[in-house]
Symmetry: C2
Subunit: 163 residues, 2 copies
């Protein structure tokens, strides 16, 4: 069955990248499910940003993540519901709401950094290893590799192989 997005080349590159991204996120989800916390894989960048940059107001968080502000407002509310982040008004500017990791959020991130993220990173790096040449070719190669061995299986192997 012909893959139309691939056939269309540059014309539908946006759709194709979005599709690949969703695929990668879904596969990543399966790895993350080992942590018994019901956080979607798409929420981890926000947690990672807070881990890396410290508490941030909503707007700056949105900028760091490269998404629109309402998305951050909603994600933060969701994660606050789960008890992973706290949202507090800023001292000096009452308009700003500062998002920060809660104690549980801190624990989750630390555990993920130790137990899960390295194997994911390793699996994706392997997925993209030894690729060269034009972008479309590399994307096709990644799609083919993913079809042959899904990411979550690569991550398992990485975990087994790790010392």
């Amino acid at each position: 069955m012909e893959d139309i997005l691939r056939s269309l080349g540059f014309l539908c590159l946006g759709s194709r990248m979005k599709r690949m991204g969703e695929q990668l996120q879904a596969d990543t989800q399966r790895v993350l499910d080992r942590l018994d916390v019901s956080v979607q894989s798409s929420q981890y960048p926000l947690l990672a940003a807070l881990d890396r940059l410290g508490p941030l107001p909503v707007g700056e968080l949105a900028q760091s993540l490269g998404v629109a502000q309402p998305g951050v407002t909603r994600s933060a509310a969701l994660l606050a519901e789960l008890g992973l982040v706290e949202v507090n008004p800023s001292q000096d500017d009452q308009r700003r709401r500062i998002v920060s990791l809660s104690l549980n959020g801190r624990r989750l991130v630390d555990q993920a950094k130790r137990d899960i993220w390295p194997s994911i990173e390793h699996a994706v790096a392997e997925l993209c290893a030894d690729l060269s040449g034009p972008l479309l070719g590399q994307l096709a190669a990644i799609e083919d590799r993913l079809a042959a061995t899904p990411l979550h299986r690569r991550a398992e192997n990485a975990r087994v192989a790790a010392p």
Copy 2:
């Protein structure tokens, strides 16, 4: 302001590709808006598939596009609402619903193929031109180029430059 997805490298490649795909789609939308039809850029792959492969049942269309079947059911219903496709039961198998371009859909695709798609394809190709090396580097270069000159402006230039 640090771009977290970029900093995280392989770990959040999925989120990053999804973000880039959405950006490209949004930019493409602005080019497509010249056609006075309210079709989202994400619907064009479906139309292009029908143009390229001819009438197809829902399931095969989903496979060709690499998306789940319910998405195609919904998109087809939407495009049928707009009068761009027709959905008819198959002769030999009453379970199957065959999706095909309507007369208006045919017209729209022909116009897009003539007036719009070439400039989009050209703009995206230019965006990705002269890139080499590892994937992450190429993605960063594309992000930088897009930030410098959005795709819709590249497409305009392409249109002006074309003979």
